[in-house]
Symmetry: C2
Subunit: 241 residues, 2 copies
């Protein structure tokens, strides 16, 4: 199996670059890869290459992309997912799993019933990088700094804006299946609530701001797991699965 490394400063075919420190250390000390070996590298923006390792030293690992790799795993709809913050380490799994299922932006939200405090966005970015490495994605989603629900809803500019709600909380909600009747959007946003759900005021604000209230159906899914389920179904509806 070819090992895969994240090199955000890749400058194209033939141009040697240094790996980031953490990637260098992993290549050199853990995997004991040597100069002359071949690895895979990706830039986090969709670029992926086969690369030759040119130099392995404590000061840095130099790699040179020698062959472009077609990356076909990105979904056609650029999806921003904005889940409410969760307590403890659960948001780590949210970031990891949304990376796995193909989100391009993860926007942590503070909502009326959010009990969690914002944590370190850099930590979540590292988790997104690790998940992209593991899942073969060449895109690392951008993990944004947490913002308030109202600010996000007021400024989001996606072509399709979705707010996931529990069945019965809004008479303006439609089943996720209703999206089948429409062509896939160019860009979409999915907003996911906290464990305690939305306030009526939040739902109204979102709906008045152009968001569609969407229900998932019969089962009640945990806040930390519902993202994988909904995003999988959205990609299925949009022809990406």
């Amino acid at each position: 199996m070819t090992r895969r490394f994240y090199a955000p400063n890749l400058a194209g075919l033939g141009v040697a670059v240094l790996l980031p420190d953490s990637e260098s250390a992993h290549l050199r000390r853990v995997l004991r890869i040597e100069a002359g070996d071949t690895v895979a590298v990706f830039d986090g923006r969709g670029g992926e290459y086969v690369a030759r390792v040119e130099q392995v030293e404590a000061a840095g690992v130099l790699i040179r992309p020698i062959q472009h790799v077609d990356q076909t795993s990105e979904p056609s709809v650029a999806l921003t997912v904005a889940p409410a913050l969760l307590k403890g380490r659960k948001y780590d799994e949210v970031v990891r799993d949304l990376t796995m299922v193909g989100a391009v932006v993860v926007q942590p939200l503070a909502t009326a019933r959010t009990e969690a405090k914002p944590r370190d966005t850099e930590r979540w970015t590292r988790i997104a990088v690790a998940s992209a490495k593991q899942c073969g994605r060449a895109v690392v989603p951008e993990v944004r700094n947490p913002c308030s629900f109202h600010s996000f809803v007021a400024h989001d500019r996606s072509a399709l804006k979705l707010l996931l709600v529990e069945p019965g909380v809004s008479d303006r909600a439609t089943a996720i299946r209703s999206l089948e009747r429409e062509p896939p959007p160019s860009t979409a946003t999915l907003v996911i609530g906290p464990e305690g759900g939305w306030t009526t005021e939040e739902i109204m604000t979102a709906v008045n701001g152009g968001f569609r209230a969407l229900t998932l159906g019969r089962l009640t899914l945990r806040a930390d797991a519902v993202g994988v389920s909904v995003v999988s179904i959205l990609h299925y509806i949009w022809g990406d699965v």
Copy 2:
């Protein structure tokens, strides 16, 4: 919020029963619920009631179902999911999440490339109970004792038998979308491989045994997370979402 308790020995409306020890302790010592209070109880087989707490003592908690609750959250297709065992505690999450998305049987499998040892099935059953409590399911999936892949494939009797494979590993594999053209089955089985994937021999054995090799599409999902994604899409295809 009405608290929900698991009472597998429920005998119907009006018949007082004791809660299991762990549920009694939780009700009495953690939640400090008292005689006269109202709780929700479910039997793990689809029965759910509002119940009156009649007696709260160290020796046991007696509850009496006073009103039947219509449970509409069960998917219409009875789905058995058989994921290969995983190392460490990851299988706990598999059991928890498959309970959440509506599996009725979880069958841990030992496959050619399974590196994990079977663990305590009782532990997984407790996890399934906890997940059903949390997600509002009145059905607790049956967690079976681990068995070998070959034995399971030879004996499974579901109407539709699916083997999840990576794209490209079998020229007889079809995309999950192909299921749209068929009516929902009465019962279905979904077999999920280990982190190292299937051997060619295992795929042949399953296909020769009436399993359909199914691919999920572009993204590579982790073995511990792929179940939620695939089961969500299956329920969507079968009209249950």
